[in-house]
Symmetry: C2
Subunit: 321 residues, 2 copies
């Protein structure tokens, strides 16, 4: 005797509630796909930005406020958003994706969009978490303009770090580029420019041990002296040591990753698994230029692809409540 | 004796003032590139949409209002926007791009972003222009939800047209799919679905001659009778007969186009001409899914690429007024 299930099946379950996931939901709802968003917190990485001044339509808005607006819009369009992160995914005998959450709920979906973003790689030092948004930032493109005339440190030696230092030096009076090795590993063009720039002082073979301040960042402690002092007085610390893609769920369901650990997608945001799409920071699509507008574009394309996938599979879209 | 020129040279001239061009300007300004936007009118194609409900951050906004917000933002960030469209481009002996406008002004730029969009291919029949935004639309993705329970015609037979008819039939009570030939040329999957859909009635070998109404569209006249009448009573007409990319300037400066006439770009939005980038509807990047968020992403990427191009060329960025 076959056990029948009357459980509701979503056309689409979106895992992740940053701008990629929420934009995917907006488009999915417009395509009349019943969709559910499961997230950890409102807004993903951008929700942490104290000011967003490069999102078209808003001269200046906090990351959190921008994401709250998107969430209202997502819900108005009929989708559900639960802040109960997905913990497990499996494929059912009927061919649906069953997503189990942190709170132990489970949901069925005909398609999935993975939009779990990245977490910025952290130094893991005292003060780093405490001063996030109060001098500590993980994004020069986002926040360099707020340090006009100030002194900042930039921790890292990659392309992102060194080009970020050059960019930051267009605003800041002084940029300490602090790298743990004896040679920057960025493209030569960036290294040359950083070295030629009188506002940038590179400190090699050095680690930051601690970030200190009061209401905002005031200084960092180094593991070896720079100009006779282990203490560096400054106004901000950019940490550019890469991102860690949120791919634990992707791995469970056998979605292919590239060598750097990002989800492989094609231009239509399809993964290697039929019915699973991905969008945003966790993908290998433009991993070096992840902005709100670029991840939103991926979210919209992923939703359109999920819609076309369901249409081509002739699966009727879910109606009613 | 060499004639010296003291003429101001922009880091970047953006040709086109739709969402791709304005987003490129926002990003360029954040990179501290002196940039100028030359446009025909505020907002490009989206500026004509009576309601935009899929742009993240705004539950519902008119296309014009959205674009006006972006324009304010562009100007606040220090860029200039002139509604004086570019008419000619040439390369100067110094290696700059000289752009001449409709009003006969000329501007010099170190880099260019072409963002001149498309114009929707028009039927060129009476009533088409008059009822634009009052029942006539060129975008089912944008406007189908506004025809809930209504009767509409969709003119065309391509993928875009037939999938658009299927999409529209999720809202409209009745969709007449009117095509001038005897066989729809869309993908079979779309054709099957359109034919199987009881809400869609396909009318072959027929052209629409005229759109009539009062405040809004009320009927169309056909060139041959359908069910004994050349008159079809309805509430809206979608025209999906393709877009014409705005590539006249691209051709002048020898930017390569694909076979369909769209500007060829790589993932960094570079064209075949060094220093010239392109973004938005006129490119061959996702020509079948042009949405505000996708063209904005292209604009942001094009600006980042122009910035990196200038940096790598070691050209100092232009400062001051």
């Amino acid at each position: 005797m076959k056990k029948s299930t009357s459980k509701f099946v979503y056309d689409l379950i979106i895992i992740g509630s940053g701008p990629a996931g929420l934009t995917a939901s907006i488009y999915a709802s417009r395509y009349k796909m019943r969709n559910l968003v499961l997230g950890k917190q409102a807004g993903g990485t951008i929700g942490l930005a104290h000011k967003v001044e490069n999102y078209p339509g808003f001269v200046s808005i906090s990351g959190l406020e921008l994401m709250q607006k998107m969430e209202v819009q997502v819900e108005r369009l009929g989708a559900e958003v639960f802040y109960d992160p997905a913990e497990d995914i499996k494929k059912t005998a009927e061919g649906f994706f069953q997503v189990t959450t942190d709170l132990g709920k489970s949901y069925l979906g005909k398609t999935l969009i993975l939009a779990t973003g990245t977490t910025r790689r952290k130094l893991g030092i005292p003060g780093e978490e405490e001063f996030l948004g109060r001098g500590v930032s993980y994004c020069t493109t986002c926040d360099a303009p707020f340090f006009k005339g100030k002194t900042v440190a930039l921790v890292g030696g990659s392309d992102g770090a060194v080009s970020g230092a050059v960019h930051t030096a267009e605003f800041a009076r002084k940029v300490y580029l602090i790298y743990r090795k004896d040679k920057l590993r960025a493209e030569p063009i960036w290294v040359e420019q950083a070295i030629a720039n009188p506002r940038i002082k590179t400190i090699y073979n050095t680690n930051v041990l601690k970030i200190e301040g009061d209401k905002v960042v005031r200084k960092v402690m180094l593991d070896r002296p720079h100009e006779d002092s282990r203490e560096l007085t400054l106004d901000g610390v950019f940490i550019e040591i890469g991102g860690i893609p949120g791919t634990s769920l992707a791995k469970i369901i056998k979605v292919a990753l590239n060598e750097a650990g990002f989800v492989k997608v094609d231009q239509q945001m399809r993964t290697n698994v039929a019915g699973i799409f991905a969008a945003g920071d966790l993908t290998d699509f433009r991993p070096t230029f992840q902005q709100v507008v670029t991840v939103q574009a991926m979210g919209a394309v992923a939703a359109a692809s999920a819609y076309q996938y369901l249409r081509k599979e002739q699966a009727p879209l879910q109606r009613g409540a």
